[in-house]
Amino acid sequence: MSSSNILEVTDLTQQFRSGDKKLTVLDAVSFTVSEGTICSIVGPSGSGKTTLLGLCAGLDRPTAGQVILNGITLGDLNEDERAAVRNDFVGFIFQTFQLIPTLTALENVMVPLELRGEATKEVSQYAKQLLEDVGLGDRLNHYPTQLSGGEQQRVAIARAFINKPDILFADEPTGNLDAETGETIENLLFDLNRANGTTLVIVTHDLELAHKCERVIQLKSGRIDSDEWINEPATANIKEA
């Protein structure tokens, strides 16, 4: 692997069985993502975007092919080892926010670092800081149901950055939000990303959002239909697959 590639995907195939039929959702997909890139994966519904994101983040095992994340071959690891990799290097943002409903905003943000067993006081301070950064300094002890959709997604962004991830996966981060809120979230995401130098992989069907990224990978029927650079990379050393 090239030292600057944080994600390497080779011949990734994912098939599901539906009754007697074999359904190929991803068909021998290969690409790499360099450190610091803001990359989007776009495509119509059912093109395999979310499946690809899940496999890249080690949330599932592929039928064939391999994913190397930050130099670690995910296929060699069991579920708990992959969880540890995620905790160390990966951040997530979901379309449905996925905040834990029984935890307050602050506690939700703290979870990834608490999982590492880090000292609570420092973690708490940092989480508060992040929530202030996303404009929720006054909502620390609110539960998810007490927050609006945009606020929930801001908590999710703060949570995604708390473990200072090398790579951040976002699945339709603005999909559940109105245009105005969506734009605020996008800006927040890009700002934080720039500030932290994180690699960002966004799955979206929002072409406007996709075109704000440096690189757009277009999926169609489980294959890469196109892969283009549309903006100047934020960082150097970008190599195409």
């Binding site: 899940g54 969880a83 834990i100 608490e114 949570r159």
Partner: protein, 847 residues
């Protein structure tokens, strides 16, 4: 499992639980009642055992009791003297007691004591002093129950046989005897010196002679038993000491406690099902939380442990609450069973019961939560991106599932064995429960299949939706059918068994059945008594002579020899007993000839007398038609052979005889007579008894009406204690029902809200819910009832040897009552769904 000791998992468990407190309380409430039942019974049993151990000498009132059914011989009295210690003799027999002030008569147990018995404990009387003075004052102590029955008071008179005595005290308690003993026959103590003057102890009367001993030398009673055994055997004496009495008592109490414990355990199991179902749905709702945690790096162990901790803490909290409740309930139990206990129980808190309660409560909660908890380990982080569309348990492999079933079955069997102290009883209980579970589950699955297969597509939407709810994903059909059905099964089996026994006994109150039996009638009194009966309008339905005799040999072999022969199948009681036989020339309608030839009369000088033996005694004597039996009829040997075998309906309340002689042989033997009659009612019966007893004080009467009433009261009291325990199951069933409904509310809330948003009226929502609950209630109750009919029938067939005919009305009403209750609980729990605006409900329920 290292995650269990990590502070983070405990912190997460707490954070997650704090906003679910109300819901979690519902989950544990089901096991609280079950644990309470266990703790109450176990603790009470412990207290009772300790009390019996502490008061064991009071149970017998002496260190040793020797008993005979005839006066002790001089040789025996000399032998007793050689045993040493202090001695006291008691004569005990049954006779009519007549209270002249009220005219009341009642068959009573008469006791006459000479010496210091009871040596341990004290007969409690009112006034206190009466027990110390009644013998010197030649007065009687009379059971309070009898005084209350006839409104008699201290100072009134009572006649026993030919003797009239003043009542100097009411008996409140006799050491070692339960208050319920007075229901069988009120106890009356008279001075020993007055026994002869009653004229009741005559040839042919059934009298027990008891000699009590008190030893102050702390002798080895086990050794003494061994030493005296040959003498007791030779003289046909019965020997009873403190250890034996304690063992008998402990066994009886142990059996009752074991039974009640099992009844309580069913409540705990029901609670377990409630917990399993509740945790299952709870965990299902937590899948996305688990997936998020997995996404951010939590291991499968860590994720599961968060909820495992909740289950453990919940179980422990439930067990703790149940234990406290159980200890409280323990103090109510003596009220229920005190009449049947020979001691006043000193209630203490049993730490064994507390420990057991905590352990079983937590254990049951944990074991039943195992399936959803282990499923959680398989929760993929992918569920953050895609929803789980399969059942939670489908995440587990078949092997794991069967492993969990095996753990549950082993836990049940292990605990049932612990309670019953028998692998066999524990195993039978477990198999029974498994069969009941299996059948109920089968009905539930069958119901879901049927509704789906024969879905009434032509029905209105409300009906279709209500019915579809029965097999929808996450339905509660199986859980509700199990908890309702099992509760119904238990309660109805108890009810039906009682009903079966009582209806069997009530045949005696048929219009034509005899209801009054006079016995101990001397031959010269027979005519006089018949005259009184004629005056009172009571027909003589039967008039039997009774001749007492003992069996001396079978086919020429002495009974003792047969008894000692280990290869013989003859039973000791049949060989040794005193036979009270009769003679007549015809069979009664309660007797049917099953083998041989009935010979009704013979010449007085017949060498070998043809007798007819009852089927039961033939079996226990290991004899058959043609075998010769030699009887010792009060000193005269009479040789007989079994000419025929009769099937006798011993359930008839009338004299029934093992041995029936033909007329012509026993006419001259010393005999007493028994007359059977029927009176129109209780008043007529009481008047007739009064007339007869006034004229002939030695004659005793068995009032069938009174016996039935007593039996009814007795069974009522016993079944009340059982029903009290069964109540725990009902309560648990209702809680499981309520919590199942509450839990399923969380699931259906969105659907109902959606329906309301789409324009469904409040009435339509209520109808949909009612239809679902109605079917669940009807099917749960009906299945439970049908299973209970089956189990009662099995009980009747194999244990009581009775045929059970179920009361269809009970089944019908029971089913609809439970269905009504299910709808009511369902509606109460779902009222927010249809009473509040949709948006408010959504916000409230998802908060």
């Amino acid at each position: 499992m290292s995650s269990f000791w990590s502070s983070w998992t405990w912190k997460m468990a707490w954070r997650d639980a704090r906003s679910n407190k109300k819901r979690l309380f519902l989950y544990i409430s089901a096991i609280i009642i079950g644990v309470a039942a266990q703790v109450a019974i176990t603790s009470f049993r412990e207290s009772l055992t300790t009390t019996i151990d502490n008061q064991s000498r009071e149970l017998l009132g002496a260190d040793l009791e020797i008993e005979a059914e005839r006066p002790f011989t001089d040789e025996e009295l000399v032998y007793f003297d050689s045993l040493g210690g202090e001695q006291s003799e008691m004569i005990e027999f049954n006779s009519m007691a007549y209270l002249p002030e009220s005219g009341g008569t009642r068959l009573s147990q008469i006791r006459a004591v000479q010496g210091g018995f009871p040596f341990y404990g004290e007969i409690q009387t009112n006034p206190d002093s009466a027990v110390r003075t009644y013998r010197d004052n030649k007065t009687a102590l009379v059971d309070n129950a009898l005084l209350v029955q006839f409104g008699a008071e201290v100072g009134d008179s009572i006649r026993i046989g030919n003797t009239m005595l003043e009542i100097s005290g009411g008996i409140e308690q006799i050491p070692g005897e339960a208050a319920a003993a007075s229901m069988i026959g009120p106890r009356i103590f008279i001075p020993y010196s007055l026994v002869d003057s009653t004229g009741l102890v005559q040839r042919g009367s059934f009298v027990e002679y008891k000699m009590y001993f008190k030893f102050d030398d702390g002798r080895d009673m086990a050794q003494m038993r061994e030493d005296t055994d040959p003498f007791m055997e030779e003289h046909d004496l019965r020997y009873d000491d403190v250890a034996e009495r304690r063992e008998e008592m402990g066994e009886a109490i142990g059996n009752l406690a074991k039974f009640l414990n099992l009844v309580g355990f069913v409540a705990l199991l029901l609670g377990g099902i409630g917990v399993a179902s509740a945790i299952h749905l709870y965990i299902k709702q937590k899948i996305s939380t688990a997936a998020v945690l997995r996404c951010f790096g939590a291991s499968s162990d860590q994720t599961m442990t968060i909820f495992l901790i909740q289950a453990v803490v919940l179980g422990l909290t439930g067990a703790l609450a149940g234990t406290v409740l159980g200890i409280g309930i323990q103090f109510m139990l003596p009220e229920l069973v005190s009449e049947f206990l020979p001691v006043n129980v000193d209630l203490t808190i049993s730490w064994l019961a507390v420990g057991l309660g905590l352990l079983t409560g937590t254990g049951v909660a944990l074991v039943f939560a195992l399936m959803p908890l282990l499923s959680l380990r398989k929760a993929s982080p992918l569920y953050t991106l895609r929803t789980l569309d399969e059942s939670l348990t489908e995440l587990l492999g078949t092997k794991t599932k069967w492993g969990i079933y095996a753990i549950i079955a082993l836990t049940v069997a292990g605990y049932a064995t612990l309670i019953t102290e028998s692998w066999i009883a524990g195993g039978i209980f477990t198999v029974g429960i498994l069969v009941a579970f299996g059948l109920l589950l089968l009905v539930a699955k069958g119901l879901m299949w049927c509704v789906r297969r024969y879905f009434p597509t032509g029905f209105s939407y409300v009906w279709r939706q209500g019915l579809a709810n029965l097999y929808r994903p996450n339905n509660q059909t199986a859980t509700l059918l199990l908890s309702l059905g099992l509760g119904m099964l238990l309660i109805s089996t108890l009810y039906f068994s009682q009903d079966m026994l009582m209806s069997e006994l009530n045949f005696a109150t048929r219009d034509d059945a005899p209801n009054l039996v006079f016995y101990d009638i001397q031959p010269d009194q027979s005519e006089g008594i018949q005259q009184i009966m004629e005056e009172e309008g009571a027909p003589v339905l039967q008039n039997h002579p009774i001749v007492t005799m003992r069996l001396s040999s079978i086919n020429g072999r002495g009974v003792q020899e047969i008894d000692e022969d280990t290869t013989s199948n003859a039973r000791g009681w049949a060989l040794d007993r005193e036979y009270r036989s009769t003679y007549r020339d015809s069979l009664l309608d309660s007797e049917t000839l099953v083998e041989g030839e009935w010979i009704g009369s013979v010449d007085p000088d017949t060498g070998l007398v043809p007798v007819s033996a009852a089927q039961e005694i033939v079996e226990d004597l290991d004899a058959g038609v043609g075998d010769t039996l030699t009887f010792n009829v009060q000193g005269v040997p009479i040789k007989t052979y079994i000419a025929s075998i009769r099937e006798v309906d011993f359930r008839r309340v009338q004299p029934n005889f093992f041995m029936l002689f033909p007329s012509g042989v026993l006419e001259q033997a010393p005999q007493i007579r028994v007359i059977v009659t029927r009176t129109a009612g209780q008043t007529e019966s009481a008047r007739l008894q009064q007339q007869v007893v006034q004229e002939y004080p030695n004659i005793s009467a068995i009032d069938v009406g009174l016996i039935l009433q007593t039996l009814n009261e007795f069974i009522d009291k016993v079944s009340f204690a059982i029903q009290f325990m069964a109540l725990f199951s009902i309560l648990t069933g209702l809680i499981v029902l309520a919590s199942s409904v509450a839990i399923s509310r969380f699931q259906r809330i969105k659907e109902s809200v959606l329906l309301r948003t789409l324009g469904a009226s409040k009435r339509q929502i209520i109808s949909i819910l009612s239809i679902e609950y109605f079917f669940l209630g009807v099917l749960g109750a009906f299945t439970g009832l049908i299973l209970s009919v089956l189990s009662t029938w099995l009980l009747g067939y194999f244990y009581f040897e009775l045929t059970f005919v179920p009361n269809l009305w009970v089944i019908f009403l029971g089913t609809f009552a439970i269905a009504g209750l299910t709808i009511l609980i369902g509606m109460l729990n779902s009222r927010s769904v249809y009473q509040k605006p949709p948006l408010e409900v959504l916000r409230m329920e998802t908060a």
